[in-house]
């Protein structure tokens, strides 16, 4: 069960890392192209450390590569928020398949959550997870700072940038409800002392988000409606496409090493 919790954390990092890497070569400006690639490198690095630890606990020949490349959609435990495309056809302002405001808003909402999660997991009873948390906390701090800076710049920018940021927020905000709804593997990980109860982090998360939205001149959408279930392995239709691209090389050459 504790390996399942590690897989949830690892899948979050891997899937968002893969999504953010889609900006590589397509960034709105060169500096942001590099920023997104750096951010992905950190997330994929965190995912590797977490998969390595999960593989140790799982045994039976599991490796970081088998966990990342040879599991399918019903095995992945990431938040639905992280697998969504960088745009939504329902958004009138998303004119291409990559809307930078969607990327920034997602990274902000998730980083604001993970800065709190990693901070708590530094005290995990699993000493390897505690060590990973210590490293990841340093990295998520500047991920949060980067996305928060852009959120304020867009929200408090031109009418066009403001509209895009608000639309992205309206689209993504409901998916954050999943943060606060414990899954069985999270509850078990809390009881064993490995994990942290994320519902205790909601007040701090609200404080971080509300302060940023105030500075950004953006309004907080009402929560409610459908609560997504990605961390319970029930996903949107988008994850399959992410995995198809990410896993194709490893599956075409399953014995390759580099």
């Amino acid at each position: 069960m504790s390996a399942t919790y590690l897989l949830h954390l690892a899948d979050n990092a891997l899937i968002l890392g893969q999504r953010n890497a889609e900006w590589c070569g397509h960034g709105p400006v060169l500096e942001e192209d590099i920023a997104m690639a750096n951010n992905s490198l950190d997330l994929i690095g965190q995912a590797r450390l977490l998969y390595q630890r999960a593989a140790e606990l799982l045994g039976q020949g599991a490796t970081e590569d088998s966990l990342a490349y040879f599991r399918d959609v019903p095995d992945f435990l990431n938040f639905t928020l992280l697998e969504l495309p960088h745009s939504n056809t329902l958004l009138p302002t998303a004119s291409s398949d990559r809307d930078f405001a969607t990327t920034i808003v997602r990274n902000f909402l998730y980083s604001a959550f993970m800065v709190l999660v990693w901070d708590k997991l530094q005290n995990s009873q699993d000493s390897q997870l505690a060590a990973i948390a210590g490293k990841s906390l340093k990295e998520v701090r500047y991920h949060l700072r980067h996305s928060r800076d852009w959120l304020v710049r867009m929200g408090d920018g031109t009418p066009e940038s403001h509209t895009r940021a608000q639309n992205a927020l309206n689209h993504l905000f409901a998916y954050t409800q999943e943060f606060w709804t414990p899954s069985t593997h999270e509850t078990a990980a809390c009881q064993s002392g490995m994990g942290t109860d994320s519902s205790n982090l909601q007040t701090d998360w609200n404080a971080i988000v509300d302060q940023a939205l105030l500075e950004a001149n953006l309004s907080r959408p009402a929560a409610g409606g459908f609560v997504s279930t990605g961390k319970q392995a029930i996903h949107s239709e988008h994850l399959g496409f992410v995995l198809a691209e990410m896993q194709s090389l490893a599956r075409a050459h399953p014995t390759a090493t580099w």
């Binding site: 920023a35 690639a37 951010n39 992905s40 490198l41 000493s127 060590a131 340093k138 700072r145 302060q211």
Partner: protein, 178 residues
């Protein structure tokens, strides 16, 4: 006194000293002017239950140089017939504060502005998030002017930001405090 590895503790100590000496010249694959020991990546030489262990720690989680560093350590010891296990250990978390003044001077001479000391983090994570970034001035490694500006917080490797000197107009890398 005999150790579990069948040698006296003096003999083991002599071996450890020799390993440190052999590994001393190894440099970072991406910043070849600074050694792994100076960077704080090379942490410890010790005896494990199955023999010699060399402990390394990664800089950033995703640092792609770690595989190369592990290979370099093994190769340097293999060349002298020494078998060692390379262990990657995450805790204590690597920090640029471990870099000694001499190492920082080597970076500067190479054209990379060395890292400032890490800022103390507020005890509450919420406070961190709300605080606007306030960067201390970074001196240009070419002309020492502090009239510089950050062009991008992210650069060619995870550990560096891109800066520009407004006096001599040279662009340069800044090794970020971590």
């Amino acid at each position: 006194m005999t150790t579990p590895l069948g040698q006296t503790s003096d003999e083991r100590q002599a071996l450890h000293d020799r390993v440190w000496a052999l590994l001393a010249p190894l440099t970072d694959p991406e910043i070849p002017v600074i050694t792994l020991r100076e960077l704080g990546i090379l942490r410890e030489v010790r005896d494990g239950s199955e023999g010699l262990q060399v402990v390394i720690t990664p800089t950033y989680s995703g640092c792609p140089a770690m595989g190369q560093i592990e290979d370099d350590v093994k190769a340097a010891l293999d060349a002298h017939g020494i078998a060692a296990q390379v262990i990657t250990q995450l805790s204590p978390v690597w920090t640029t504060d471990w870099m000694q003044p001499e190492a920082k001077e080597k970076l500067r001479a190479y054209g990379i502005a060395p890292p400032h000391a890490c800022e103390a983090q507020p005890s509450s994570v919420v406070q961190f998030a709300a605080r606007a970034p306030r960067a201390s001035p970074v001196a240009c490694p070419q002309c020492a002017s502090v009239n510089t500006t950050e062009t991008s917080h992210f650069g060619s490797t995870a550990c560096k930001a891109m800066y520009k000197c407004l006096d001599c107009l040279e662009p340069f890398d800044y090794f970020k405090p971590y």
